[in-house]
Amino acid sequence: MSRAVRHRYKGREQGPVQQEGEVVDRRRLGQYWGITVTAGEIASRCEPGQFVNVSVDIAGTLLQRPFSVAGASPSGPVAGTIDIVVDSHGPGTNALGRVRTGDRLTLMGPLGRAFPMPQRRVSAVLVGGGYGAAPLYYLGNRLRAAGHKVGFVIGAADQSRIVDPIVPKRMATLTMFTTEDGSMGEQGLVTDVLRKALVSTDAEVVYSCGPNGMLAAVSAISEDLGIPCQVAVEEHMACGVGVCMTCVLPIRDRHGEVHNRRVCVDGPVFTSTRIAWEQSRYVGPVDSSAPETVLLDDGGGGESRDSADRDPPAPDVAVPQTVDEPAATPNGSPSEGDAPGQEGRSRQRDGRGERRGGPGGDSGVGRRPGDGSWIGQ
């Protein structure tokens, strides 16, 4: 395998780099493709929850496609590689699903903020929808390595959209699967079994990734039980580095004021209580006055700025808060991957948005759970 040949960065040891990598493996993961690509610099900088932008060299496409990092191996037998999970459902993701070993891809990453790690030993439950499970496997490995207890609740539309089910089973003390059609695990949505899972594992922190409608519902249940919850959200995104201002989500600051914050640099991981879901398009009836009530995100400078109002790492923040049951059907799902714009469109019918992009939008009603496309090891 050949290592990345190009690094472009300013000599820092943190932050994103752009590099060209070589596809060293592509494998079927049910409906998805698991892709492993050499990207040594990204692998060594990456933490669970962060994402990479992948250039797609297809005529007519313009933007990179964002994928959560589903695994990173800075060392070991496949040193210097990262994994992503691709759900092929548009021109960009179709092309990525067809890559062959030896193909070269240009990657930019790691981007965004990672999941905060617990400060003391905890019991953690990781809730994934569709390919949103993939980055949680990466996180699960890290948590286990640090001595935490890990449980998984993974949901999708059907069995073919449960990413690599053996992976969570191997590492977790509890693994529950839900499918909407009952083809695997319990029939229903992750939120149907979540309360039970949280209680039976004495969960002290919840991490979740999947379609935004599901995340809103997972947040509500966790907050109702007083368990801190960290979610990795998705939103339509053009640049991934904080300049285009397209991927905003209404986020509360410490004083409760809501600002449009960029998912790519201020997220994608947020403490659940900070997200003003009721002002987003992901739950409830569309509130056409939302833009008026949202204060401005001053956007200023991705990094420093919002460290100030980020919550401390998970388990020490418990902000029980009553949240009405969101209208959205929590399903698991989908958000996935082909980010920019269109590709998700055909999928909207069955509920899948594109990854951090998608039209996840419809309050989830009638949506099917998910697919996600990020990784799996």
Partner: protein, 348 residues
């Protein structure tokens, strides 16, 4: 400063402003400058044009704010920005510290907004030039953008000129008009130093299944390579009508060095990179490095020698490429604005 790896002269002038190279950022595609400065030194650019600032902070529009289209994208952000006061306090000093040349972008809902933003920017120090974004909705005039109306556009420029008497002022125009020179001429007469062209053109994409617009706002600004020929045509039109003394910042789908040269040949003095930064955050930086090398490779001593150089085919000289009449009204203000470049005349 970057290390020169070429012999050719890439410098350019915008009014009284001299730039090492003609590569700028398109406003709205570069946020505050900090984001990209994490990746490369933004002082390598000819100048930075940060996101437009308004008098008050703006939260922007609801999501989804963008959709990819064939070789392009649609966006409707709604000028999300921290407001001029915060920008002056926080972002301007950063850009100055980084050593970047700065072309501040001004937006507003009313003529008074523009005047006040310009006044505050003028009172701050360290801004090298200004771009007046005339493509914002005009709340005093049925929500239309200023740049579709020659009188209102001129009024804004006159107001800004009034508070910035000596500044280098560019007016950024929309392509969504029948004859852009009919807007550009009054804008120049009102005191602009030059023209920035083009802003996005209004587009729309609709999900066939849900019936919803792909961008929440419904109509959205289209940008990207799909737009480039339109932008090149407009820059050529402006350059032809306004004459070589009027600097033009060309933009619209610029991605490669060839694109930069194409705009220069059409008449641009400088070229701004917009959507390409979204596709590759290093795009503008690459151009600053590659432009001089390209000129060397093709044997051109300077970029400016190519400005406005479009040569007709030997068998057909269309009116738009005909050399000016020796005694004609060729000094920048044709008696029939735009007439000399009307493509319709080609076969008449």
């Amino acid at each position: 400063m970057m290390n020169r790896t070429h012999a050719a002269d890439t410098s350019t002038t915008l009014g009284s402003l001299v730039l090492d190279n003609p590569i700028l950022t398109a406003s709205g595609c570069f946020a505050s400058g900090r984001e990209i400065d994490r990746l490369w030194d933004i002082s390598d650019l000819g100048a930075v044009v940060p996101k437009s600032v308004t008098l008050e902070p703006r939260a922007g529009l609801p999501t989804p704010r963008m959709a990819e289209t064939p070789s392009g994208m649609l966006n409707a952000i709604g000028l999300q920005n921290p407001g001029v006061a915060t920008w002056i306090e926080r972002d301007l000093p950063y850009l100055r510290r980084r050593g970047a040349k700065i072309i501040a972008s001004i937006a507003g809902n009313t003529v008074d907004d523009y005047r006040e933003v310009a006044r505050q920017l003028g009172a701050a120090r360290g801004i090298d030039a200004y771009e007046i974004n005339l493509s914002c909705p005009n709340v005093e005039h049925r929500g239309l953008v200023f740049a579709v109306d020659p009188d209102r556009s001129a009024k804004v420029v006159r107001a800004v000129r009034g508070v910035l008497p000596d500044a280098t002022l560019f007016a950024k125009l929309t392509p969504d008009v029948t004859d852009i020179t009919a807007i550009a001429i009054p804008v120049m007469e009102a005191g602009a130093t030059g023209i920035s062209a083009i802003n996005t053109t209004l587009g729309m994409a609709i999900d066939p299944v849900t019936g919803r617009p792909m961008v929440a706002n419904g109509y959205a600004g289209m940008s990207g390579p799909a737009l480039r020929p339109i932008a090149v045509r407009i820059v050529h039109q402006l350059h032809t009508v306004l004459g070589p003394d009027v600097p033009i910042i060309g933009m619209g789908g610029v991605r490669t060095v060839e694109d930069v040269v194409e705009f220069t040949r059409a008449g641009a003095s400088a070229v701004a990179v917009g959507t390409a930064t979204f596709a590759d955050p290093f795009a503008a930086h690459d151009l600053t490095v590659q432009l001089g090398q390209w000129l060397d490779r093709h044997g051109f001593a300077s970029l400016q020698q190519l400005r406005g150089q479009v040569h007709p085919w030997p068998h057909h000289v269309p009116p738009i490429l005909a050399p000016p009449e020796p005694d004609g009204p060729d000094d920048g203000a044709p008696s029939r604005p735009g007439g000399s470049v009307a493509v319709d005349d080609a076969d008449s």
